[in-house]
Symmetry: C2
Subunit: 139 residues, 2 copies
DNA sequence: TTACATGCAAATGTTTTGCAAGGTT
DNA sequence: AACCTTGCAAAACATTTGCATGTAA
């Protein structure tokens, strides 16, 4: 995904194309582990874009509202962000070293459908995270 | 669950029995929605126990380490806590009004087993939260 | 008595907001 | 030009830490 395609992604969502927004999407496109705000600020600084933290939070808010990114949490007391366009998946987080792996399989929709009916909820999304020890940290 | 039983719960975990710890467990026993730290502070104040916030965080840390409570997050940028002794379940969170309902069914273990094998992870726990609109907020 | 738990205060980390200035369309 | 986006500064909220004091066992 190059800068031009990313700009299109923004235009399609009726969002103005700015350096900071492009930078945020670039980072999220380039990594598989969901990024937190600090990751994003560090990346932007390296790219000489250096957006303010308030700007990054506002960008992420707009992106979530426009379904460009999703929020994810790993029990850290802070929110992480990943592209909403990623194929649906879940995460396995190592509680010791923090490494993250993806899981492609997801049979959660059935559970969601049942719950939706039973509770009269209109379910829009779900988060599923696994916690444990990665291969290295098991010793 | 009365105060005596809660004290036993602490003794079984080799933890000293204090008013603040009893209070925290009392609250978590009394509600089905996972509590955040502010909920806990408010509850303790009402009970004239009034623990300091640092104390509450330390209590929760010890409780998590001793498997008395679990951490849960609803994409709020903060951690919530619920009893680990609750039957395994998941949550449905209304993104508009914040109301929370429980789901008892859980077929996630199969997914976990597969992923565990594939990634050589030793999976210890998982969080699954659904987000959507409750019956009232759909209009 | 002894080890652990707490209070207080301060620091650190995360997220939000107001307002003026700047940039995109 | 009009509207949206950003920077800056400050505030609000969430979490952690050091150290002296208090308390359960």
């Amino acid at each position: 995904m190059n800068t031009h395609d990313i700009a299109d992604q923004l235009k399609n969502a009726d969002l103005k194309v700015t350096q900071a927004r492009i930078g945020v999407l670039e980072l999220l496109h380039s990594t598989s582990t969901p990024s937190d705000v600090q990751d994003i600020l560090d990346y932007l600084r390296k790219q000489d874009i250096s957006a303010d933290q308030a700007t990054v939070y506002r960008i992420l808010k707009v992106f979530v509202e426009n379904d460009l990114v999703r929020q994810v949490e790993f029990n850290e007391g802070k929110v992480r962000y990943e592209l909403a366009s990623l194929p649906h998946h879940h995460h396995v987080v190592c509680v010791k070293c923090g490494s993250v792996r993806d899981i492609e399989e997801c049979d959660v929709d059935e559970i969601a459908a049942k719950a939706s009916k039973k509770l009269s909820f209109k379910i829009q999304s779900h988060n599923l995270e696994f916690f444990g020890l990665c291969r290295n940290c098991q010793h």
